[in-house]
Amino acid sequence: MAAPTIATRGMKATRDAYGEALVEVARDHPQVVALTGDLRDSNRLEAFAAAFPDRFIECGIAEQNMIGVAAGLAACGRIPFVSSFAVFSPGRCYDQIRVLVAQPRLNVKLVSTHGGITVGEDGMSAQAIEELAMMRALANMTVIVPADATETRQVIRAIAGFPGPVYVRLGRAAAPLILDEAYRFVLGAARVLREGTDVALIACGIMVAEALAAAETLAAEGIEARVLNCATIKPLDEAAIVAAARETGAIVTAEEHTVLGGLGGAVCETVAAHHPVPVERVGIQDCFGESGTPRALMEKYGLTSSAIAAAARRAVSRKAG
């Protein structure tokens, strides 16, 4: 059976939206500067570099120093947007982020592209599938995974005006545009994209589109799924999570990330503390990725609407009474 489809407005990579949005944001915020480690093309910063050559800082392939330079710039009033691949930042510079950025709450925006397994053919070493857990573990850090390019544009604008350290994970591949122009990102808020009372599908990033598709499948079976776009993983919208637990009695989380310590982990912590209900976690099951097309990897590693629908059926069957 073919996977169900949802209405989309075309395809666009979140990193493309980042590059466009940062140019717009920089016009309004003269303190914004952009740093990259020899990835101006991949990070989509070439337009920024052309528009603001004096505010574009090439750091070379030296991520540890790049974070330190950003911290020093922030200490002098700049708003540095620091970009790399998500495996390298935070992976190559975690201690710098911890000591120089997070603890002193310096106003550094860490925006990494090529997050998740859909990096694809470059394989395991290029696929960041743990960094949300790493960043969520840092006190003072805000962690955001936009669902699509429309949301990414709003996220970049929002964080430029938000004082303090932020990590944003973006993707490499073109992804469905699922949010309309009326959608409003609010930092720290999970947004209900579809109402339902039988189960709640709580997703971030590209898995929001899969969750919406899964909800279509489930509706055909008589299961009404609520879909939440939980773009802000930290601080988590605990009120929305607890309301979903209370009102649906079963939860599925879905993320392009290990199920340990990311969105699934965060939701489990909140639900266990405030309103325990069955939770099924869709994500990468404590293993590493490999080369392949993004779609083939999503199929093999269980990051699909059908995997979410199956998890929802399990969650519903586990409901008490």
Partner: protein
């Protein structure tokens, strides 16, 4: 500050600072006396002669910045900051205590005058580079000084920063390497060889100057000279002695991260008092 240098007065200050450093570390019960004593002459010269700074206005945008990248030597820095008036010297006796403004390693959120948090090696240097870059971009005349440990120079990020600062021609940046030759468990040259250290910095396209890091006139002269260099960052490699000023600490690996006992402290203070010029 600046103006005519009174070398004797700087030496007298540094001698008193050595005593206070050892006292506050013993009071705390832990800390790093060896690297504090190797660094104190340089930090004294910076704050009491060279830096443009205003302790009453620690966020003055045009101030010179000092970053202690070898953050474990912070007792030396704290003693100097207190003497300058950045905070009440009474705080020195709370070093490393719960709720103290003086943490075991420098914390910019707690201590007036601390520009950037350090303690994890190799990081403060990069932050200092960012500050120097911001100063260049803003057209502000301030200078940035970063003190590195020689052991710290084994961190790869130091050399990332060295590449970056030279690439951008940050001539408002001066690094000072406290070349005391020892790291936590032994001589630097036995743990991971650094020499020829000056040649490495030259190869990275820095202006290099080597001095005796306990010769106050030489320290002041090297800092003045660095200020005149155009187009390149400067490094002052200061040959120092770990634990300088106290015979039984000098060059002893075991005093890298250990407080003196009360008995050892009494002997050390007597030695330092005995070293003061008579009359």
């Amino acid at each position: 500050m600046q103006g005519p240098v009174d070398v004797r007065a700087l030496e007298a200050r540094a001698r008193e600072f050595r005593k206070t450093i050892l006292q506050v570390i013993t009071r705390a019960g832990s800390g790093h006396p060896g690297g504090s004593l190797s660094a104190i002459d340089i930090i004294t010269a910076l704050y009491f002669h060279h830096l443009r700074h205003d302790p009453k206005n620690p966020t003055w945008p045009d101030r010179d910045r000092f970053v202690l990248s070898k953050g474990h030597a912070c007792p030396a820095w704290y003693v100097v900051l207190a003497a300058c008036g950045y905070f009440d010297p009474q705080h020195l006796w709370t070093l490393r205590e719960i709720n103290s403004i003086l943490q075991g390693h420098p914390d910019m959120t707690r201590t007036p005058g601390v520009e950037v948090s350090t303690g994890s090696l190799g990081m403060g240097f990069s932050a200092a580079i960012g500050m120097a870059l911001a100063g260049k971009q803003d057209g502000r005349g301030y200078r940035v000084y970063a003190m590195l440990g020689d052991g710290e120079s084994q961190e790869g990020s130091i050399w990332e920063g060295a590449l970056f600062a030279a690439h951008y021609g940050l001539d408002n940046l001066t690094a000072i390497v406290d070349r005391n030759g020892l790291q936590q468990t032994g001589p630097t040259e036995e743990r991971l060889r650094l020499d020829p250290l000056a040649d490495k910095w030259r190869a990275f396209n820095w202006d290099v100057c080597e001095i005796d890091g306990h010769d106050m006139a030489a320290i002041v002269g090297a800092l003045e000279r660095a200020r005149t260099v155009v187009g390149r960052p400067q490094v002052i490699i200061a040959r120092t002695v770990k634990g300088k000023g106290v015979s039984f600490i000098e060059g002893v690996v075991g005093f890298h991260g250990k407080a003196l006992t009360k008995g050892e402290l009494a002997r050390a203070l007597a030695e330092l008092d005995g070293a003061a010029p008579k009359g």
